[in-house]
């Protein structure tokens, strides 16, 4: 079976799952091509996510995961297609989208405290030229409590570990309280405790009807925790539930040869080789 066939199957299954529930989508991406210049970095991307779903975006480095997020957020030029948030142009309602960038994009020596950074999530609500109020301070406190960093509220961000900083960025998204959350590798290079804490918060958000889209390298975690998986390799390889998408041929089409499927007892463990893709 080729990857296209798998993709069609995955699509039809995801439609079947959606048939019983309202047809309302939180995020809908239609035939998206995006990138700089004439050569799109990602092309032919179509998928839709209902509120209360958690989607894992997987693919090798350079597959366009960050590009997809930046296109949804309107940070890079859209060459073709549409992005809808609650059936309206997503870029007209950006405050409804929360973004957690990769950790290495953060200026760690910047003179701001943990609570300063979380407060930034409130800025769109506070509005121009206004000061933050008691309500904003309460929201910041609550967000810090949820990521268990209230004790560090006054710490300068450079003094935190990678896992703690990642939770600060998550708290900023929480303080923003968006409908759609886009998280770019929130659990890469952080300790297991932080991984569990972050997924705990994300699952809580999902259960409260938020839409959560996460780029990740951790395929096993995707199998265990996500409702939908989007396989990306500059194009959309497949989109559907983990049970449907996690087939050898789809994963091979996504990762090329840089992937091993190891059988442990009756369980298949997938090992993505994320470091060697540049050799090709």
């Amino acid at each position: 079976m080729n990857a296209d066939e798998g993709m069609r199957r995955a699509e039809s299954e995801s439609r079947a799952v959606g048939a019983g529930s309202p047809r309302h989508h939180c995020l809908e991406v239609q035939d998206l091509a995006a990138g700089y210049g004439n050569q799109p970095a990602i092309d032919g991307i179509s998928f839709a996510v209902r509120p209360g779903q958690m989607v894992g975006v997987i693919g090798p480095n350079g597959a366009g995961k960050t590009t997809l997020f930046k296109a949804i957020l309107g940070l890079i030029p859209i060459l073709r297609g549409r992005i809808l948030l609650h059936d309206a142009d997503a870029h007209a309602q950006r405050a409804m989208m929360g973004y957690l960038p990769q950790l290495d994009e953060i200026h760690r020596t910047f003179p701001v405290s943990v609570s300063d950074v979380v407060m930034m999530g409130r800025y769109p609500r506070i509005g121009w030229s206004r000061r933050s109020g008691a309500e904003d301070a309460a929201a910041v406190r609550q967000a810090l409590e949820r990521v268990d960093l209230l004790d560090h509220a006054r710490t300068q961000i450079g003094k935190l570990s990678g896992g703690q900083l990642q939770r600060v960025l998550l708290a900023r998204v929480l303080a923003q309280d968006p409908h759609l959350l886009l998280l770019d590798e929130p659990v890469s290079g952080v300790d297991t405790t932080t991984q569990h804490a972050i997924f705990g918060v994300l699952e809580e958000l999902r259960d409260n009807g938020k839409t959560v889209v996460v780029a990740t390298h951790d395929l096993n975690c995707v199998v265990e925790r996500f409702d939908q998986v989007l396989c990306l390799s500059k194009r959309l390889v497949a989109y559907g539930s983990p049970a449907v998408v996690f087939r050898e041929e789809i994963l091979e089409a996504t990762y090329g040869s840089h992937l091993m499927v190891v059988k442990v007892g009756d369980r298949r463990v997938v090992v993505a080789d994320e470091h060697h893709h540049r050799r090709e």
Partner: protein
């Protein structure tokens, strides 16, 4: 006591002090952004680009500040435009533009017959030559800059810390960048009389960098920057008065000394502290 109060019986010293405090305050406020966003090179370029404006205004016998403002703000917006279009080597573009603009200023200056000492004071600064009209212009421009920063304080903070998330939240990042560069340009215009186009960048960067050594909070960095800036200007004025040396250069050197002194003290207190 006479040593301290002596200089202020002269009107020009009073004006220099007042002008210096205004200039120092604005430079430190904008310098905070310049340091944290790494805009020192752009600041230097904008200052040099002011010079042809100054010379042309001098030749046309119109207000020097007007000429400087047109050239620096124009260049600032040009840089904002270029940085948006060309994704690579805009450093080089700035290098080409500012050297060219500065050369144009020097060339025009060389065509002027007779007395050009006034123009030299715009190259290297002459805070003792601040007139009442200068004070008025500096005061108005300073008010505009402070007002803009006060109104966009949150937005500039977010833009400086995390421009990608600022844009993702829907802030007009390009417009904010252009506004910030325009404020840098106006700050330079304000400072030209005090320290001159060649040395402006020092006043824009050094006090804020000194403040960055001793605090981990944004607003405190701004306030301490103002303190270091005013210290350098007042102390520099005294030295320049008593030793009869160039005021702009003295102020900049005092500021530089303050930076290294602070760096040394910081190293003594926290031997393992990482450098900025």
């Amino acid at each position: 006591m006479n040593f301290l109060t002596g200089p202020w019986q002269f009107g020009f010293m009073e004006r220099a002090l007042l002008g210096g405090i205004l200039v120092g305050t604005i430079c430190a406020v904008i310098g905070t952004y310049v340091v944290l966003r790494g805009l020192a090179f752009i600041g230097d370029a904008l200052a040099h680009a002011a010079f042809p404006g100054v010379v042309i205004a001098y030749m046309l016998k119109v207000n020097i500040y007007l000429g400087a403002a047109i050239f620096t703000v124009g260049t600032a917006l040009g840089i904002a435009f270029v940085s948006r279009r060309a994704r690579t080597s805009y450093d080089t573009t700035i290098g080409i533009l500012f050297a060219g603009a500065f050369a144009l200023g020097i060339l025009l200056m060389s065509t002027i017959q007779g007395y050009t000492a006034d123009l030299f004071s715009f190259l290297f600064g002459n805070i003792l030559g601040v007139s009442t009209t200068d004070l008025l212009v500096v005061g108005v421009l300073a008010g505009i800059v402070i007002l803009a920063v006060a109104l966009c304080y949150k937005e500039f903070l977010l833009l400086s810390f995390d421009p990608v998330v600022a844009e993702a939240m829907g802030y007009p990042v390009q417009a904010l960048n252009s506004l910030l560069l325009t404020l840098v340009a106006l700050t330079i215009v304000i400072s030209i009389q005090a320290v001159g186009v060649v040395l402006v960048v020092a006043l824009l960067v050094t006090p804020s960098a000194t403040a960055y050594l001793v605090t981990e909070r944004f607003f405190r960095m701004m306030l301490l920057g103002i303190l270091f800036s005013i210290l350098a200007i007042v102390f520099g004025l005294y030295l320049s008065f008593y030793f009869n040396v160039a005021s702009g250069a003295t102020i900049v050197l005092v500021s530089t000394c303050l930076f290294f002194l602070t760096l040394g003290v910081r190293r003594l207190i926290h031997p393992a502290a990482p450098s900025i």
